[in-house]
């Protein structure tokens, strides 16, 4: 679905992204430290950033072209919402932008409203939402239109634990019911563990996954330290699981099994 060839992007003289060759055919999570190039790659895929060099095609169409735009929906790291429309109106509006006057929000989006427990948000303006609620709204608006690829830049940022779990269920639902390929960037250990494919970026380049045997014991997560129940492992997790080596479930880089599904479907080579 997504093909990348010789992709490079520089901010001034700094090389931010260097992906010689990559194919993504299944949902994939981008992991890596801050500045690793995750957001740059997502923006390039969304056609919102013109890379310095290279080619990206989505379903055979160049990223940013009308054909690719029709296939790709993007959830930016900070919500992009219309200030003067309620959430329900925004979902309707976006559906009509893509489907015509009588179009309604995609069925998957309606189900996502239930999964994310966002029914009460439907009649609210963005100004009446909290940061986490706006993040949910941004995701709902992005899924209100039919798409085959959903790009999400740190979608769990600002969400509470329950919402994160619900989001994971929503992603799984989108993937299974609507066949959407979800490419997201995150530091969230749960999202990393729940996503079949994984691409680690380091210094803008695809990097090999660390050897689990070389990683030391898992440290207690900050979430566990601050747990009111005394630090039990009942679902608390931290946002830095991928990088800090803590959190529950096990951080992807430390003890999670290799992403066999992605590796079987995706391929990239470093030149």
């Amino acid at each position: 679905m997504i093909e990348i060839r010789g992709l490079q992007h520089r901010y001034g003289k700094a090389l931010a992204l260097d992906v010689p060759r990559l194919s993504i055919d299944a949902s994939t999570v981008l992991v890596g430290h801050n500045g690793a190039g995750k957001s740059t790659l997502l923006l390039s895929l969304a056609g919102l950033l013109v890379p310095t060099d290279g080619v990206i095609t989505i379903g055979g169409d160049a990223a940013g072209s009308p054909g690719a735009r029709g296939r790709v929906s993007f959830v930016p790291d900070s919500p992009a919402l219309f200030d003067d429309l309620t959430l329900a109106d925004q979902m309707r509006y976006v559906a009509r932008l893509h489907g015509g006057r009588k179009a309604t929000p995609a069925e998957a989006a309606n189900e996502l409203v239930e999964l994310l427990d966002a029914t009460e948000l439907l009649d609210r303006l963005p100004s009446a939402m909290s940061k986490g609620q706006r993040q949910k709204a941004s995701l709902l608006v992005a899924t209100a239109r039919p798409c085959s690829v959903l790009l999400a830049d740190e979608p769990t940022t600002g969400l509470d634990t329950e919402s994160r779990v619900a989001l994971l269920r929503g992603f799984a639902h989108l993937e299974q019911a609507a066949g959407v390929i979800i490419v997201s960037s995150t530091h969230d250990g749960e999202l990393i563990a729940a996503t079949p494919g994984r691409l680690r970026l380091s210094g803008g380049r695809p990097a090999a996954e660390p050897d689990p045997a070389a990683v030391g014991p898992v440290a207690p997560s900050p979430a566990a330290w601050s747990d009111e129940d005394g630090g039990s492992d009942d679902g608390g997790s931290d946002d830095e699981g991928a990088d800090s080596g803590g959190g529950h479930p096990q951080p992807a880089g430390a003890a999670a099994p290799p992403p066999s599904r992605w590796r079987s479907r995706s391929r990239f080579s470093q030149e």
């Binding site: 919102l48 200030d83 429309l85 109106d89 976006v94 932008l97 893509h98």
Partner: protein, 485 residues
């Protein structure tokens, strides 16, 4: 009707629940206010004209020349990023939809063109009335306003072409087309500026041609407006709205990060290269960054001011206005860095919290600098004839300092805090800040007309006056901030 490949038409969407649905009534109300202002503005302008001895022909000619120049203004406007200040939701959802971008951006462009045209018409009317109230008539004002409005509207319509040429990333940019358009526009502008009257068929045809050129240019390139550029710009706007620490927009990049973090600023290795400067002064001066183009503009403005001070005849109202405007700019720039905020959108400045000490220091620094130079000018020129020379120098910098203080206080963290807490309720305060510049310009005009701001031609110290103004420009333009890590 614009339609996309999947059948969604612009009307289908916008007629139902378009986010901008209320804009039409807003725009009509704005146009109504503009019409009222057009009728009453000559009364105020004639009062100003009492202190501006000038021939109405000068002002009329000025309107024509300014209109002709406006036709080539889009080159710069396009280079700076174009006319579209749309938010990220529009970029993401509307420009990301199958709709033709012309259907999304076209109405916004037309809205801007009309708004700028209305402003140009008002300005032309005011200038006409200031030229000579006794000869003023609404017929003449309508003629000048019409020319200015159409010229500016055509100019705004051409902006997307230059935006695509400058910022587009396609392999084939429309350079030949925009160049041909520019040549044709310049020819039209020349006709308008040199030979035109209300009933002239040639003039009317020229104006119609300019408008048609602009419309054709906009229609041909709107579908190619670079979406990544619009996204980057919309992101910058959103970050500004959410009190981000840096704001890159139009002409300046304001960054108070290091200003807030005193320790890091003082550790700057580059500071050692400027060891002659007191540390605190360095910190207060170093928080505003500018591009080379702004500096060129500053130098040109300073040179014009200096030339006017020494050579021009203030008995001409146009010269007096130009001198006042240039003097105000020099004063602003001298009182750097707070004065530098005049280069921003006035009502868009949003300082981060905890920057109050820095801003207080900036105002104090600006005041000290202006005071020192003013005192020096007073001391050196006190014995010169006429005595107004000294007052002229002092007044120039005093007004600049006043402007800096007003800008600084109204853009302070207090206001940022109020904006956070009260939202649009503080909009009047922001607008007062925006009005500070024009009010000061008006005040300077009056001062100039009375000869308080300009040494006469027979002053024994023209070179010194020139040196003072040039020093002001140098101080304002010295790239201190470029050295910060």
């Amino acid at each position: 009707m614009v339609s996309g490949p999947e059948g969604a038409t612009l009307w289908d969407v916008l007629a139902l629940d378009a986010p901008d649905g209320s804009r039409l009534s807003d725009d009509l109300y704005s146009l109504y206010l503009a019409a009222i202002a057009w009728l009453v503005i000559p009364m105020y302008a004639s009062a100003v004209a009492q202190v501006l001895p000038s021939d109405i022909a000068d002002f009329s000619r000025l309107v024509d020349i300014a209109s002709a120049l406006a036709l080539v203004g889009p080159i710069w406007f396009g280079y700076r990023g174009g006319p579209f200040l749309i938010n990220r939701a529009v970029v993401l959802h509307e420009l990301g939809s199958p709709l033709d971008p012309r259907g999304v951006l076209g109405p916004r462009l037309a809205r801007q063109a009309v708004a700028y045209a209305a402003l140009a018409g008002l300005a032309a009317n005011a200038l006409t009335a200031m030229g000579d109230p006794e000869e003023f008539g609404y017929r003449l004002a309508a003629r000048n306003s019409f020319v200015a409005a159409v010229a500016v509207m055509a100019a705004v319509l051409q902006t997307p072409g230059w935006l695509v040429a400058w910022k587009g990333r396609a392999r084939r940019r429309p350079w030949p087309a925009v160049a041909a358009n520019l040549a044709a526009t310049a020819a039209v502008g020349a006709v308008v500026a040199t030979d035109w009257s209300l009933g002239s068929p040639v003039g009317l045809a020229a104006l119609a041609a300019a408008l048609a050129l602009g419309a054709a240019s906009a229609w041909s390139v709107l579908a190619r407006v670079p979406v990544p550029h619009l996204w980057r710009r919309a992101t910058a706007l959103d970050e500004m709205r959410s009190a981000a620490l840096s704001f890159d927009f139009q002409r300046v990049l304001v960054s108070l990060r290091r200003a807030v973090d005193q320790t890091e600023a003082h550790r700057s290795p580059v500071r050692l290269a400027r060891s002659w400067m007191p540390r605190s002064l360095w910190r207060y001066l170093a928080s505003v960054e500018r591009g080379w183009n702004t500096r060129v503009g500053q130098v040109v403005a300073g040179a014009v001011a200096a030339a006017l001070v020494v050579r021009a005849d203030p008995a001409n109202g146009v010269v007096a206005l130009a001198l006042a405007a240039a003097g105000m700019m020099a004063g602003f720039e001298l009182a750097s860095p707070i004065a530098s905020t005049a280069g921003q959108i006035w009502f868009g400045v949003h300082y981060p919290r905890r920057s109050a000490p820095v801003l207080r220091g900036q105002v104090a620094t600006a005041t000290v600098i202006a005071g020192i130079i003013a005192a020096a000018a007073l001391g050196w020129l006190a014995g010169s004839e006429p005595a107004g020379t000294a007052l002229a120098s002092a007044g120039l910098f005093a007004f600049g300092t006043l402007a800096a203080a007003v800008q600084g206080r109204l853009g302070s963290p207090d206001l940022a805090w109020m904006a956070d807490k009260l939202g649009t309720m503080v909009a009047p305060a922001l607008w007062i800040r925006a009005l500070a510049g024009p009010l000061l310009c008006l005040a300077l005009t009056v001062v100039v007309s009375h000869g308080w701001l300009r040494p006469d031609g027979y002053t024994p110290w023209p070179a010194l006056t020139l040196a003072v103004v040039a020093a002001a420009v140098v101080v304002a333009c010295y790239p201190l901030e470029k050295s910060l890590p």
